[in-house]
Symmetry: C2
């Protein structure tokens, strides 16, 4: 282990024959620097392999260029989707020169307080926010800005972004109704997810029920565990439904298999529309008509909103991305 001292901004300044502050201004662009000086400084930086000391920078400038991402790693959550969100946040953050500190949900409010209090991060993004999330009050009293992916009950003073799941549910219903279906059913997330009162599951259900009501058709909502057995049981319990809405990535394949086993053809006998990532919808047989979950956009938007707040700009309290319905071959009109 070589005991080599860090290359400091002073080293660079000396090497380039300028003052340390000049180097700083070259880096930040907060003051005009002549092209020749800039070039000389940049050359020295490269020559010496200089990287500004993050701690020193954060101490002096009061910004860390790091954001915290609170990732739930909880039961019943579909990991691939979660990771899509996470990757989107990571990529978006890196694009604006920020790093990402990982926070688990089980550190809860204390973790949020610790991270925010230590000035380790400039702001936070919380994923999978529950309707009554214990971290939300903490967030409010915090000096640091935050953005929630999800929608808690009380969103005053917060910034939230998510897919408009209610509208997504409604879109599914409307599509099926247009095709002539009058007996609809929603296969949702596992029961635990509802018990935890996670917003997205509930909002979809409410959207489906409301839209069905408005259209004058019947709609049953059922939670569904992520196993084949549960999917089979659910499908068996709904023999009259001709329009199925599946909002549970992990169970999509199982539902299709169960229908096949029961001799119900898709889409001839029963139409299926899913709310799930495109990959899942495309990989299914037959390919599923679906409302995609725009993880990339949501994650990107979350970072964008956070950056605006960091810059002191006003942001809308709630951003609900409109759903889009992608037609594939799992839905057909009833005859």
């Amino acid at each position: 282990m070589t005991r080599d001292r860090m290359v400091t901004i002073t080293d660079v300044a000396q090497h380039a024959g300028v003052a340390a502050s000049t180097v700083s201004y070259v880096l930040s662009g907060k003051r005009t620097i002549s092209a020749t000086t800039r070039a000389r400084v940049l050359a020295s930086i490269r020559a010496l392999g200089f990287h500004p000391h993050a701690g020193a920078r954060s101490l002096a400038s009061n910004k860390a260029n790091v954001i915290a991402l609170a990732l739930p790693l909880r039961q019943g959550m579909h990991l691939p989707v979660l990771m899509q969100f996470a990757t989107a946040v990571l990529t978006a953050a890196r694009a604006v020169d920020h790093d990402v500190l990982l926070l688990t949900a089980d550190e809860g409010a204390a973790g949020v307080r610790r991270i925010a209090g230590s000035a380790m991060v400039d702001g936070l993004i919380l994923m999978d926010v529950e309707t009554h999330d214990p971290r939300v009050p903490t967030l409010r009293e915090l000096a640091r800005p935050s953005v929630l992916i999800g929608l808690p009950a009380e969103s005053d003073g917060l910034t939230c972004v998510d897919l408009d799941f209610a509208a997504a549910g409604a879109a599914c219903v409307e599509h099926l109704v247009q095709l002539g279906h009058t007996e609809l059913a929603l296969l949702g997330a596992p029961q635990v997810v509802y018990d935890r009162d996670t917003g997205f599951a509930r909002r979809t259900r409410d959207g489906v029920i409301a839209a069905a009501h408005a259209a004058g058709v019947t709609a049953t909502a059922r939670p569904c565990d992520s196993t084949y057995a549960a999917a089979l049981a659910a499908v068996r319990a709904l023999p009259h439904a001709t329009g199925l809405i599946v909002h549970n990535e992990a169970v999509v394949d199982h539902v299709l298999t169960a229908l096949r086993t029961m001799g119900r053809r898709v889409p001839e006998d029963v139409s299926v529309v899913a709310i799930c990532p495109d990959e899942v919808a495309e990989r299914a047989t037959p390919e599923l008509t679906s409302v995609p979950i725009p993880a990339g956009e949501v994650g990107g938007r979350a970072v964008e909103l956070l950056m605006s707040k960091l810059a002191g700009e006003p942001v809308p309290p709630v951003t609900l991305l409109p759903p889009s319905l992608r037609l594939r071959s799992s839905t057909a009109s009833i005859h």
Copy 2:
């Protein structure tokens, strides 16, 4: 947004009527402090809600109490397993008062250099290291310690930890051989994983082949994509194999379904042993005899090794955790 200045160590010192350095020593325990003073200081800390400024701390002490975790998010990797590793690392790190900065693999060597150079982290843990990983040379020339989960070709000067996949493969073979099987087959990771020359896939294969050779039985190795179709094709292509080793979490269920469809009973007609997380093995029908992937242990050990290196203690260059075979109901002796 309240414009409240941070609570500093000086504020705490004033409040407690001691010097700032005393507060620091109470916090770090690097000097003896009388019980009464300590109590007074701790009370002030709590009263003011003091959190040491991470940047200032890292600047003064030259340690950030943060480690970087380089997560691959690449094709063909099984996310749940990956997240188990990640969670294990996170938990272990938090247990020793360190936070975790997320790094994506696609930032590659540049990302490693940036993070390490900026003193933002004390050390790094890289997951899913490939046999010829471009980040490895960078790691060597770095001043910061690192630990690899995985095993590159040239491990000199590095610290690696992983399950002993070769031994795992061999353990599967030996188990099947003991049961009297003489025609074995390995269904492995998707082809892309081999193409990328990711170590674990290859090491299992080599372990299987070598053990089969040593035992005088035949063993065929096949990559296998993570789809039902691929699993079916693979099983069809191996009509004579009576002992199947599956090293691909995503395809375990598909293989069992495929065998069922073909009318081959498990374990009466064909024995199946998997190398996969316990949850996968237990959830399968029938429950699978398996070599579990000890993600928790590996992750924990990685953090442990990193902490030792940070403390300047010598550590073994390569730690291969011995596999264990867990008997369940998917293997039986041939008759």
